[in-house]
């Protein structure tokens, strides 16, 4: 049946998938477009429906799709957990950092007009876009992490989880 | 210099305690520190006497424990009597402790001396407190620092149990009764300062405190001060007798219990105002409560075979004399009470010293074992006799003076219940003390062989006097008890000063 990864001990997708060329090809074709659409949704969030949350989820859907087809372990090989962990924090940092930049620039926290003092409204637009991207990055990495965590039997932590069972 | 002296009196034992810890490993040095500290303390306290004779001195504020109530101290006659006794007897008690603790090879001696010094510091704090909050704080601190002394023989279940009773009763009473009384006083009058005539005058006059509430607060105070051992809050005192004898002697015959009756007197005089009580017809019950306590405790003492327990019940009854003096609600009674604080201290500490001396030399704790011991320990038992005389109130001892004053106060104010109590209890006192003396001097000692199989502590083996420090201390306190009879001036003057200051 399913095999374990030689190093991580994770379950690997059944070998059968290697022969499912339709799935593999369509997945490889679709993923870039989904990511592009996600970027569009995120960027568009400034003015219309959409934004970081929605776009982030769509972006994550691209990776999750990849994971579904090729197996989560392969997804983890491509995007290791340290990258998602980093992006989770980095996204929020981007979001909050924009606000902090304004604060340091002499305006109030989250007052984006300080990004472009000459044209406050453009500053606001830029600020919002940056914030959307921050949110998007975080949401993407969070959802990837959730997916990986739920699908895989915690192979990432198999060694360090020597939990004392009290009985 | 004189102004800072109450603080000095508190600081000296604290510094002494620190030095005791530092020198803990070398016991000769440690005990020298104790003695020197005690000497310095007596000098510092004695220097305050002239100030005290003039009435309450200006208040010294130290810290603001609560925004409007500081930790404050002052010198006044009643506190002076108490401080003088405690600091004076600490010297003798330290000499005695050295003999006793070494003689019985007690453990944790550094802790013992440290806690003793801390207790004395709290006692000084109580004596010189200038408001109720300060008194309360020092009172609770005293309960806490004496706890390790009571549980000195700690892993023994008896000591732990006694410690529980001790702390349980003292703290419960003070928290459950005294604290609300104090806060109530603060709420209704806006002041907790000790001033002549009390702080309730205005509130009573304008009717914001109804008389029943005033009486209720007084009731809470009187029973809240469990250290005064007013029945039924006396149980801690016999329980505390598991402690080493020096502890029983100084703390449970002098410092702690006197903290109780001193607080009773001080609160009645300076916070409640006895004249106000008399004026509004409150607090009359205290006389009866104290009187019953006197007689009942004396009666219980009759049947105690354990010497220290008998002394403990005697203490309960003697303390209620003092409470009774305060309960007469007039200056004469208060003066007698103040005098009895001093008189009882010298007598009772002598008795406890003697009991400890007997234990150290002969390992006997029961009255029934004391046959003929007076021949082997003439000094100890001689001192014991003087102590007994003082307890009964016979000349030439201090007890006579104070009992005389009590009786006089009772007669002049026509409180015949008090007179009756005094007479009956004197008879009872005689009934439980004189047989001990009779046994010690006029009965033949048991033959050596008869008792040897009963007890492993060589009860029948010939023994002489106790170690010399013990003998010195016991004769010293006995001498004090006699001296106060011939020269009562210091204490009497202070007591007069107290009476003069009181509104009649």
């Amino acid at each position: 049946m399913s095999k374990r990864h030689p190093v991580t001990g994770a379950f690997q997708a059944p070998r059968l998938i290697e022969h499912q060329s339709v799935l593999r090809v369509s997945c490889k074709l679709l993923v870039p477009f989904i990511i592009m659409f996600a970027v569009y949704v995120i960027t568009h969030g400034e003015l219309g429906p959409g934004g970081g949350f929605q776009g982030g989820v769509i972006m994550a859907a691209a990776f999750i799709f990849y994971g579904l087809v090729f197996g989560a372990s392969r997804l983890v090989d491509r995007i290791p957990s340290r990258i998602t962990d980093f992006l989770m924090a980095a996204g929020v940092l981007l979001y909050a950092g924009v606000g902090l930049h304004n604060l340091l620039a002499g305006s109030n926290f989250l007052d984006y007009s300080a990004l472009n003092p000459a044209h406050p409204s453009e500053g606001e637009a830029l600020g919002m876009t940056l914030v959307e991207y921050g949110v998007g990055i975080t949401v993407t990495s969070v959802f990837i992490t959730i997916y990986v965590t739920i699908t895989e039997p915690r192979f990432m932590r198999s060694k360090r989880e020597n939990v004392k069972v009290t009985d | 210099m004189i102004e800072s002296s109450p603080l000095l009196a508190i600081a000296i034992p604290l510094v002494g305690g620190a030095l005791i810890v530092v020198t803990g490993a070398r016991r000769n040095l440690r005990e020298a520190v104790t003695l020197v500290t005690a000497g310095c303390l007596l000098a510092a306290v004695a220097a305050l006497v002239p100030a005290a004779l003039k009435g309450p001195s200006p208040t010294i504020e130290v810290l603001h424990v609560l925004p409007e109530i500081p930790l404050a101290f002052h010198v006044e006659p009643l506190g002076m009597i108490y401080a003088l006794i405690a600091s004076g007897l600490w010297i003798l008690n330290s000499i005695y402790s050295i003999g006793y603790m070494r003689g019985n090879r007690e453990s944790h001696q550094t802790r013992f001396y440290l806690c003793f010094a801390l207790s004395i510091a709290s006692v000084m704090g109580i004596a010189f407190s200038a408001n109720m909050l300060t008194l309360f704080i020092c009172y609770e601190t005293l309960s806490l620092v004496t706890y390790p002394l009571v549980t000195h023989k700690a892993p023994k279940p008896a000591a732990v149990r006694a410690g529980r009773t001790y702390l349980g009763i003292l703290v419960s009473a003070s928290v459950l009764l005294m604290l609300p009384a104090m806060v109530g006083t603060w709420m209704y009058t806006g002041s907790l300062d000790f001033v002549h005539g009390g702080v309730f005058g205005e509130a009573l006059a304008d009717g914001s405190v109804p008389p029943w509430l005033f009486g209720f607060i007084f009731f809470l105070f009187m029973y809240g001060i469990a250290k005064a051992a007013l029945m039924p809050f006396h149980r801690w005192l016999p329980a505390a007798m598991v402690a080493p004898t020096p502890v029983s002697a100084l703390l449970h015959a002098v410092a702690v219990v006197k903290a109780g009756v001193f607080s009773v007197c001080k609160i009645s005089t300076y916070l409640i105002g006895v004249d106000k009580l008399a004026e509004f017809g409150q607090g009359g019950w205290l006389l009866y409560a104290a009187g019953i306590s006197v007689v009942a405790a004396s009666f219980i003492a009759l049947f105690q075979d354990n010497l220290k327990r008998r002394l403990a019940y005697s203490t309960v009854s003697q303390l209620s004399y003092i409470t009774m003096g305060a309960a007469m609600l007039n200056p004469l009674g208060m003066m007698a009470a103040a005098m009895h604080i001093a008189a009882h201290a010298f007598g009772k500490i002598t008795l406890f010293f003697a009991a400890g001396s007997i234990y150290t030399a002969a390992h006997k704790t029961k009255v029934s074992e004391l046959d003929g011991i007076g021949r082997r320990m003439p000094f100890t038992m001689g001192a014991f006799t003087i102590g007994c005389l003082s307890m009964i109130g016979l000349p030439p001892t201090a007890g006579f003076i104070s009992k005389w004053m009590l009786l006089g106060a009772a007669w002049t104010t026509e409180q015949y219940f008090a007179v009756g109590v005094l007479i009956v209890s004197t008879l009872l006192n005689a009934a439980y003390f004189l047989p001990i003396i009779h046994r010690a001097f006029f009965r033949a000692p048991p033959p050596p062989s008869a008792a040897s199989d009963e007890s492993s502590t060589a009860a029948g083996v010939p023994h002489g006097e106790a170690p010399w420090p013990i003998v010195v201390a016991v004769t010293g306190t006995a001498a004090c008890a006699a001296t106060v009879f011939f020269y009562p001036s210091v204490f009497a003057d202070l007591a007069f000063a107290l009476m003069r200051g009181m509104p009649t």
């Binding site: 980093f86 926290f109 360090r160 069972v165 | 424990v65 609560l66 309360f136 892993p155 928290v175 709420m187």
Partner: protein, 503 residues
């Protein structure tokens, strides 16, 4: 620093927020996350101090900060007055001290490569708690409440490495806490419906206007909103009988987390109750019946949970139940709605944080050395870990309310508050509660000092960082008890600010 002064209210929240995010980026192993967290929380204390200084310069005014310059009606405003400056300082101080303490305990209880994660969550929790105190926007309160709660659930669940029951405790807390938060959200919804605003002061004004026009008479929306908020807050601050999540959560959490959470999390809940009941509903809505119910719950909580504490055999559990009881004091205090009662509450927030923090820290040191916090582990520790046990003893005395410890001050105020209204029975219940606390504290102290240890093996004293932290708190307890001039005045002032709206 001067340039940043006007931004202080928001910086208070941002500092631990950024700190937490950056901590997640730190190397997984090694002391770096700990050092970073200590620096961040230390800086937070400095910010808190300068905030208090700012407030003291003009105590009558409220320092307001508009995020993004949006006015308070539309945007989120942060408002700082004497009360929240005080609570923020308490949280910041406790956070700093607990962070110092956390080093050894986390090294022992959390796997080596999870430290950055732990400290990241830890700082985010602090950020949430400070934020709740700083914000004046009700919905922002909900969001920050959830930030702090979610992180605290996670922190508690990390106790699984020591005892798996931490997980169920955490889940129970999560479910009850989320229900509480959702109730609060629902209550805020009702108020939003009624007033059209989320800002507290604005809401209060709108409600006052409606009251003046007589629109509020018989209005059930405000009644329902008030009820939901009260129940939600009761759950969040573990008011008896809504405290069921608390004992296990505190018992099985990692030691450092117990110390932090026990001394701050429920206090923030109490702060929210102050804001909602006094600032928002004060004089709008006659809450005397609710307050009477709260007084009833508080007194029962004091008695019942103190008795439970006296029965428990795990010292951490004893402390946890005692926390419920001590919370009862706080609830009883503000339910009197008079100045000394509320002042007692405010003052007890700090005093209990300090004493209970010290005790949980001492307990954590025992867990570190003995492996668990059973009463048996404490046998004879008085000789083996003297400094730790001395701190525990001081904390215990504070809990009892001995004079010269901080507990006495709170009790004094509490009784004055009760007697102010002539409620002698309330004073007696409070005192009876403290008598029961003598029993449970003394049970532990007797074991510490009088029992012989079971195993002869030598026991080391707690590590230096732990000792420092617990002694800071223990001596703070004594200092606050000896000289309550500052805290007393601050608390009285804060009480006047709160009650001022109600009279």
């Amino acid at each position: 620093m001067d340039a940043l002064t006007p931004h202080l209210p928001v910086l208070l929240v941002l500092t631990p927020l950024f700190g937490g995010l950056l901590a997640a980026l730190m190397p997984r192993r090694g002391p770096a996350p700990w050092i970073w967290s200590a620096l961040v929380t230390g800086f937070e204390v400095l910010l808190g101090l300068s905030m208090v200084k700012l407030v003291r310069q003009s105590p009558q005014e409220t320092i307001t900060y508009f995020i993004g310059w949006w006015p308070a009606e539309y945007g989120i405003a942060y408002e700082i007055d004497a009360l929240n400056a005080y609570v923020i300082l308490v949280v910041a101080l406790l956070a700093f001290v607990s962070t110092i303490y956390a080093k050894s305990s986390v090294e022992d209880e959390i796997p080596k490569d999870r430290h950055n994660f732990f400290y990241s969550i830890w700082l985010l929790a602090i950020s949430g708690m400070v934020g709740i105190c700083a914000t004046a926007d009700t919905f922002n309160i909900y969001v920050l409440l959830e930030i702090s709660s979610l992180t605290v659930y996670t922190l508690i669940a990390m106790g699984k490495y020591r005892d798996r029951r931490a997980l169920t405790a955490s889940l129970k807390y999560l479910i009850l806490g989320s229900i509480g938060a959702t109730f609060i959200l629902l209550g805020i919804g009702y108020l939003l419906m009624l007033t059209g605003t989320l800002n507290m002061a604005d809401m209060h004004e709108q409600l006052m206007l409606m009251k003046a026009e007589g629109d509020l008479a018989g209005n059930r929306t405000i009644l329902v909103g008030f009820t939901f908020i009260t129940v939600g807050l009761g759950l969040k601050m573990a008011m008896w009988p809504l405290h069921l999540w608390l004992p296990n959560a505190y018992t099985f959490a990692p030691s450092a987390v117990s110390a932090l959470v026990a001394s701050t999390a429920t206090k923030v809940g109490v702060y929210m109750a102050f804001r909602f009941i006094f600032t928002l509903f004060g004089s709008v809505y006659d809450s005397s019946a609710t307050l009477a119910l709260m007084a009833f719950c508080g007194t029962l909580g004091i008695i019942v949970s103190s008795i439970r504490a006296a029965q428990a055999t795990n010292v951490k559990k004893i402390l946890a139940y005692s926390s419920v009881g001590q919370l009862g004091y706080i609830v009883v205090g503000f339910s009197m709605a008079n100045e000394s009662g509320v002042a007692a509450s405010v003052i007890h927030i700090l005093n209990h944080a300090v004493t209970k923090g010290a005790m949980f820290m001492a307990c954590g040191a025992v867990v570190l050395r003995m492996g668990n916090a059973d009463l048996k582990s404490f046998y004879g520790l008085g000789r083996r870990m003297p400094a730790t046990m001395a701190a525990f003893t001081i904390g215990g005395l504070g809990l009892i309310g001995m004079p010269l410890t901080s507990g006495f001050i709170s009790k004094f105020y509490l009784i004055s508050g009760a007697l102010h209204d002539g409620k002698w029975w309330l004073a007696m219940v409070v005192l009876a509660g403290s008598l029961i606390s003598i029993i449970y504290v003394w049970r532990v102290l007797e074991v510490i000092y009088f029992k012989k240890p079971e195993k002869r093996a030598p026991v080391e004293e707690a590590p230096f960082t732990m000792l420092i932290a617990m002694w800071i708190l223990a001596s703070a307890s004594v200092i606050l008890g000896v000289d309550a001039e500052l805290t007393g005045r601050l608390a009285e002032f804060a009480a006047r600010v709160l009650i001022g709206g109600a009279t």
